[in-house]
Amino acid sequence: MIIDSRGRIAGKVSVIDAALALIVIGLAVGFAVRQFQIKPTVQENNATIYVTVNIEPIRDFSIEAINEGDIFYEQYATQSMGKVIKLSSQPAKELIKIPDGTIHYVEMEEKYKLTVTLECKGIIRDTGYYINGNAQISEGGDLTLQSNKALCYAKVTDISEQLQ
């Protein structure tokens, strides 16, 4: 019998001890793999890509914290995404339904939509645009962007190789 009447594998090692040892070894291997994992190499970026995003609805203190020349990162990224080269603001809008049942797209007081164009370095492949060679971005995608002053939630509205 593989496991004897005393619960030992081949009469030598307790089943409980063996299971515990396997769990501990598994945790140790997993920890070691995470700690010593080879980081992906950063590819050289050779294309200038213009990414336009909308950030809305935001209040005036956020508008004031985002300026031309600011460098933005995707949150938790190790390389910057790009530099703000153009921005414009207008009142934010939201849908409301009024009692007659119609729906209107109306302005919001004291809230704004900020349109920001970032000049980025990246790679253009058949599969899409890769900023800094790693993160792919697409129109309609959501980004959490941060500079050293502000954090904001943006939606990509345009990606192009020419400044619009």
Partner: protein, 168 residues
Amino acid sequence: MEFWYRIKVNKHLKIGNVSLIDVVVVMAIIVFILLARRFSAPQEATAAPGSITLRYTVELQKKQPDFADKVQVGAQVYDSQRGYHIGEVEGVTVGPYKEDAPDHDELIIRRTAIDGLCSVYVDIVAQATVTDQTTAIGEFDVLIGKEIYIRTKDFASGGYVVKRVVEE
């Protein structure tokens, strides 16, 4: 050296009366505990070398009017989630608490002050570091538009950072 020669593992995988597997498991648990202490988050965010004075304001929304009395100038401020020390209260102001309210006649969404509720603005001063990517008190990022959860010995609340001023 002589001691090592005396350690013998018998046919039951025991060293004396102690199972070899148990010894290995206990040693591994000790190593894990030591590594966990080594890599766990620090309980205090300390100012990094070359740090600057940061003044920032947190907006605590939807508060009763007497909430501001709980915010004491000079109180130490901590991050509620990780316990980082993130500054000292320098001032407190009160403003109206506003909500979005659709105006069906004018077809606009108005910011309307709500009676009986207020927004409390807590001014905090701390030593911070500014890099290309962030402004941070130790490992705690302070960025306009970021929601943070703060506490002192008198209150705890979440709110947005609405103002940030650095002094070189």
